[in-house]
Amino acid sequence: MRFAMLAPGLAPHDAVSNDALGMCAALRAAGHEVSLFAPHARGIAEPVLDPHRIEGWLRSADDCVIYHYCVGWDFALALLRRLRARRIVRYHNITPPDFFADWSPGYVAACQEGRAQLDAFAALGCDLYLGDSPYNLEDFTTRGVPAQRCAVLAPFHEVEQLAGLAPDVRRIPDGAPLLLMVGRIAPNKNYLELIDALAASVAMDLPNAHLLLIGKLDPNLARYGEALQERIAMRGMQAHVSWLQDANGTELRAAFERSRMLVMLSRHEGFCVPLVEAMALGTPVVALATAAMPSTLGDAGLLWPEDADAWLIGASIARLHADDALHAQLRARGQARYAAQYAPASLARRLQQILAEHAFT
């Protein structure tokens, strides 16, 4: 059976690209013939074909296209409409545009455009809607897609490669405790409240707390970056925050190893791969129970409702720093959850199981 893996773009260390490449490897290991299709690709160690060739590449109606839906893309919608082969929509979610309303008209328009296609994809009646999380699938089930055509598969990732790297600590700051946040600098990641929580923890007998931010700032979100700097200054946290925009894998590895905890206050995540990285590398998590985060993290972290304020997060940080037994418990739970649900072998088994249940073999 042939699988055409279609994505709007492929790049190294990108979550959607990692998922597409991981699925390719798992399907090939199961004996299928797989090829990647994308209009743009760089740094990918295998041939990536022009999406216009996809219909010629598929040989029969039993072959399958897996489309990684993460932005609005008219070409993909038109292709899936006219295609006679079997179709899987692999949905990674699209951030609601409201998050960007105060920061970037371009982002608002792009997110609106992407989410505007949800109705059209739901109406296509594809063979399978494969969400990263139960939260993601709600976008389709609320649009009338029957549950039996839906399945959850956590995204493939490169955590194992990350774990195998030698940590490079040269640019990793000290902190007592050192707090970590990983993710692009964007409004839905809630960096402003994260700074407030840091200020609260410093005020709660943690004068040496330090927050390490690892994430890039898109120039089109420069205003949000300025707002973040202003919030840091407003709370007097300049000496308590370090920001690495260009961290490589070895530095990310060192950051997880040195940090006492990952503090993830994001308001919208379709899955949140950094949580998986934290679980695998033994870094406990303090997070908000928003979007997909509860299903990703399970009981392996301190989860708070989304109305939790800075003081509650600050108190959680202080407690997790001081309580070694709690720290060890969350660390053990995270590692067990990773091994059971997110290890590559588990993901590959789950993919095979889903394909078998939906008669794709």
Partner: protein
């Protein structure tokens, strides 16, 4: 299933965290530092975000990548993303009109949201799109071409004139190049003439290169040897580091052991002091020493001027110094037992806490005019001999020494009666002893000869 008592209960921990947060929330608001007033920041990326009115000619003047960049920045108020720019350039390279690119951007979802006005664009965009439609597009294309015919003829004439000018410039450039070529040929002939000389220089250069390569090979050998030595040193350092760590660990353990021993010794000393104090109190309870002390003090006072300073070593609970003070004498009292010193302080007698033998050793020669010793200080023969030697050194000639033997079962069993005390004092070189007895207590008075 019963919860594991060793495993923290998350819900109860969360309740404790909520309480801690509530307490912190009630204590103070989040810190807030008013930022310094900022100058109006100029847009660092050069995008005119406030400008929403353009003429199409402003946007079509540039070419290729510069045209696409400018269109994105004007119509979408951002720099082009990699994929988008690639797509627009692809359209340009496949013959699309610039107005079609501008229209695509202006009437995209993002462009509509921004809503920039581009004068004279709408009609051109519609016509460009119409010309791409099947069937309709062909006559529309013809119509557009017909309408543009006068302008196209003018462009053609302009092009012809420009080409002629370009041909003229090219002819001039060709003539210049021809002259340069001739000069080069002359230079080449000169070089050919110098070829033999160059060959000799090349041989010399080759010899130098050989020498440099040999030096390089030697340097590489030296570097390899240095690397081996470094590896050897690294290998030797590792056991040394291990030894240092082991020694450090041993010293740390030793220090901790010493601290424990010192603490135990302090406790033992305290216990011993308490025992001695209890014994003194017990004996005082059995028989009050007050009368004996008054008698001895009176006898001693007879040998001293009024207000003379008596050095009293082993003063105990202050009863004896009190008797001396009662006879109008001054007393410098010292005892090593912290419990007895505290008891003396409680009765208003100042007794210094310290080693009596050390105090005596610090006294200048012949500076003590009267000395009182407790027999409890004579723990053994060596101690007694040293103490009496020091006493003789420090005492003035003829000064009296009174040795008190008060505690029958005292830890110092070396001297526990008048006869032994007198023998020791005589052996130490003091004058004729005089025994001052009072029931169970006894004192011996001597003078330095």
């Amino acid at each position: 299933m019963k919860p594991d008592p060793a495993t923290p209960d998350l819900e109860s921990i969360k309740a404790e965290i909520r309480s801690a947060a509530a307490a912190a929330r009630a204590r103070a608001p989040l810190p807030r530092v008013d930022p310094a007033p900022r100058a109006q920041a100029a847009a660092s990326d050069g995008i005119e975000r406030e400008r929403l009115d353009y003429d199409v000619s402003e946007l079509t003047g540039l070419d290729h990548g510069a045209f696409v960049d400018n269109a994105y920045r004007a119509l979408l108020k951002r720099n082009p993303d990699e994929g988008g720019a690639g797509l627009q350039l692809h359209l340009l390279m496949t013959g699309a009109d610039k107005t079609e690119i501008l229209g695509n951007l202006r009437w995209s979802a993002e462009g509509r949201h921004i809503g920039a006005r581009v004068r004279r664009l709408r009609l051109r965009y519609v016509l460009a799109k119409l010309s791409r439609l099947p069937l309709v597009g062909y006559p529309v294309g013809w119509l557009l071409a017909l309408l543009k015919l006068p302008a196209m003829l003018r462009d053609q004439r302009l092009l012809q004139a420009a080409l002629c000018e370009r041909a003229s410039l090219l002819a001039m450039a060709q003539a210049t190049l021809q002259r340069q070529l001739e000069q080069l040929e002359v230079a080449q002939r000169g070089l050919v003439a110098q070829a033999p000389h160059r060959d000799e220089q090349a041989r010399q250069l080759a010899a130098r290169v050989d020498a440099v390569e040999r030096a390089g090979a030697e340097l590489r050998t030296d570097l390899q040897a240095a690397a081996r030595e470094r590896a050897d040193v690294s290998a030797a350092i590792e056991p040394l580091r291990h030894y240092v760590h082991t020694t450090h660990h041993w010293l740390t353990s030793l220090r901790e052991g010493m601290v424990e021993l010192e603490a135990a010794a302090t406790r033992e000393q305290r216990r011993a002091d308490e025992l001695v104090a209890a014994l003194v109190a017990h004996e005082a309870a059995q028989e009050s020493p007050a009368q004996a002390h008054r008698d001895w003090a009176a006898t001693l006072a007879q040998h001293l001027p009024a207000g003379a300073l008596v050095m009293d070593l082993g003063s105990g609970d202050g009863a004896w110094p009190a008797a001396l003070i009662g006879q109008g004498l001054a007393v410098a009292a010292v005892d090593a037992n912290a419990v007895l010193v505290a008891r003396a302080q409680a009765r208003g007698i100042h007794v210094a806490l310290g080693d009596p033998a050390a105090v005596l050793a610090r006294c200048a020669d012949a500076s003590v005019i009267a000395l009182s010793l407790s027999a409890t200080l004579l723990g053994d023969a060596v101690t007694a001999a040293r103490l009496f030697d020091e006493a003789r050194r420090a005492m003035a000639d003829g000064a009296p020494l009174l040795l008190r033997v008060e505690t029958g079962a005292a830890p110092a069993a070396l001297v526990n009666d008048a006869r032994t005390a007198a023998a020791w004092l005589q052996a130490a070189g003091f004058g004729e002893p005089r025994t001052l007895a009072a029931q169970a207590r006894v004192a011996v008075l001597v003078h330095k000869r």
